[in-house]
Symmetry: C2
Subunit: 367 residues, 2 copies
């Protein structure tokens, strides 16, 4: 028997409650049904006070005796049952794996429980919102990217790891970083620096920026995966560390920052445990090229997609702040974007030795 921690017990209880309610329906000779919170744009709002994207209260019914719902009803319980098995055996797996675990041909028919993974993935999301359990609590992991180093000792699945001694490699941030897996130990960190790109992370690590500055250095390989976002969230709330985000000066970089800050529309139901509304955008700002002498030949012209994205972002309620509007409008007007690497034109360690220290000293960031 695998040891089950408090979280596992809670999640198991939720799955069992869902199943028991359906059994009760059957005993009462009623159509078995479950209520699933709606994951549509219409059921999503921006909570201006909490500064995160949230799900509303709308739900839809999914019942067994309904031609258009029977298949999904069956699938929901197949996935729930597989997750129950995972939790009970103390194992975790990928959503691709779960698809294969639950794929069967039904009886002598040619019908499969799932035809493609794009059928099982939404069912997982349904289950997450219905049970109010993160995917990680269902023991499912996502693809992962991302590395971390810094002045902190952690315990990962029972192994004590000193993130001050991870060489050039770094510790790979797992997809599941819940408190039962990753525990924070002794640390001297003053803040968290989340950089968009692995190559930039390597520059900061090689220059031992995290040692001089006493910061946790983490990257997410572009749009940070769930594990990285959740870990940054935990360091912010549990350890009280401010979070700085360093991304390319382009609409995609701003969007990455925006997701770290208030969550994404797709995963609105997870904002509570992923988003960091007080995350600070430390660069690259649209005015940095001038301030830091980055020559124009290192810039890239905006394309139509960039302009469309900027117009979109200007309409988001969370980009209504005056400073953010100026930032976006400056970019659109200059018709120029800059990758973080453009700073290397000023010298290979310009970014770690001059750019970021000055930015921090001058408190030159946006929230």
């Amino acid at each position: 028997m695998t040891r089950r921690d408090a979280t596992a017990k809670k999640t198991l209880a939720k799955i069992e409650a869902l199943a028991k309610a359906v059994v009760r329906d059957i005993q009462k000779k009623q159509n078995p049904r479950i209520e699933i919170p709606l994951r549509t744009l219409s059921n999503i709002t921006y909570n201006a006070r909490k500064k995160i994207i949230e799900m509303g209260k709308e739900t839809q019914e999914r019942s067994f005796f309904n031609v258009s719902q029977a298949r999904k009803f069956m699938q929901t319980f197949l996935v729930a049952s597989a997750c129950k098995e995972l939790i009970e055996t103390g194992k975790t797996t990928s959503i691709r794996d779960l698809y294969y675990m639950t794929k069967h041909t039904l009886g002598n028919s040619k019908v499969n429980t799932f035809e493609e993974q794009d059928e099982s993935d939404p069912i997982i999301e349904d289950l997450e919102v219905t049970l109010d359990a993160l995917r990680e609590e269902l023991h499912l992991f996502a693809n992962r990217k991302g590395l971390m180093v810094g002045p902190m000792t952690i315990v990962d699945s029972g192994d004590t790891i000193d993130l001050r001694r991870q060489g050039s490699g770094g510790w790979g941030v797992p997809s599941i970083v819940e408190p039962n897996v990753i525990k924070f130990g002794k640390h001297e960190a003053r803040y968290v620096l989340l950089v968009e790109k692995e190559a930039v992370w390597s520059r900061f690590n090689e220059d031992k920026f995290w040692k001089k500055e006493k910061c946790m250095l983490i990257h997410g390989g572009g749009q940070p995966p769930r594990g990285v976002r959740r870990l940054v969230h935990r360091m912010h709330y549990e350890l009280g560390l401010p979070v700085y985000v360093l991304v390319d000066n382009d609409p995609w970089g701003f969007y990455i920052y925006s997701v770290v800050k208030q969550g994404s529309i797709n995963l609105a139901y997870e904002s509570m445990r992923m988003a960091v509304p007080r995350a600070r955008f430390i660069g690259i700002s649209s005015r940095d090229a001038e301030r830091y002498g980055i020559p124009e030949e290192t810039s890239i012209r905006l394309d139509e997609g960039d302009h469309r994205r900027i117009r979109q972002m200007l309409e988001y309620p969370w980009f209504q702040d005056k400073k953010w509007r100026r930032e976006l409008e400056t970019m659109a007007k200059s018709n120029r974007k800059y990758e973080i690497e453009a700073l290397s034109r000023r010298g290979i360690s310009f970014i770690t030795e001059e750019y970021l220290p000055r930015k921090l000293a001058e408190k030159d960031w946006l929230e």
Copy 2:
């Protein structure tokens, strides 16, 4: 002054020799020129004895007083000069960064030294073959993916790291794993297991397969990046460890194995230091579905691209072995491919508890 190790001194000497030869040309009032080995298909052969893909002896001349070569001539020395600076300061960087470092607008013209990175990347490759120096020896790193755990202590950039205690995260394999950066310490490993996918690696790590089996567990996130290939190569040759490769049962998986084994056509000049001709293909074999009771509904139908790829591979000199031909022909005939995850249909830990142990016990692999 940064400490320079033997490799750095050797590479610096090569760059200086290249430059001095050109200076001599100028002093003799000759057209300055360099000889660059040809990186074309015509200059690539399969060495059947060594079982690796190799570059031939053909070269091309690149001279300064030649309208079609002057620009590339200038670029070659710009890149060489930047690499010299990197080596002298003991720093490493990405090829994207190098592009920005060397991008200038020439005088009052509107002409840039490089317009796009796709101009600087081939120059780097030219320089590698001309100097007979790996990109890593020029202090340039590539994008990286890949994690490793296992019964071994390593030293990475001066930090001692116990790969037996890396939790669920794992140690991120850096792009540069040359002996001056990564040193192997005490180990009890009996072999190296290279798996194609991160999610599968996580399954093996969670089940502590590497502990029971005493193997180094490494993945490359699809086609393994240079760092992973080079590290596997080093463990094979320096520590005498056999290498097993576990990939999807599809043409792409077989191709990944093939590159690990004898190198790729694109990077033929690096096979000597990357390829592992005795690497063993442990699965998923086209006959495993039947042998291991993997139901057909977990398979995927081959598409036209798959069939084209199979026909192509059947023509490669290194796939002429009878057993490999049977493997490829079985796949084509069955019209079916299987992802590694399809094994999960037999149980979540079927792969670590039954499939791989039996494969190894029965010596059921291809070389």
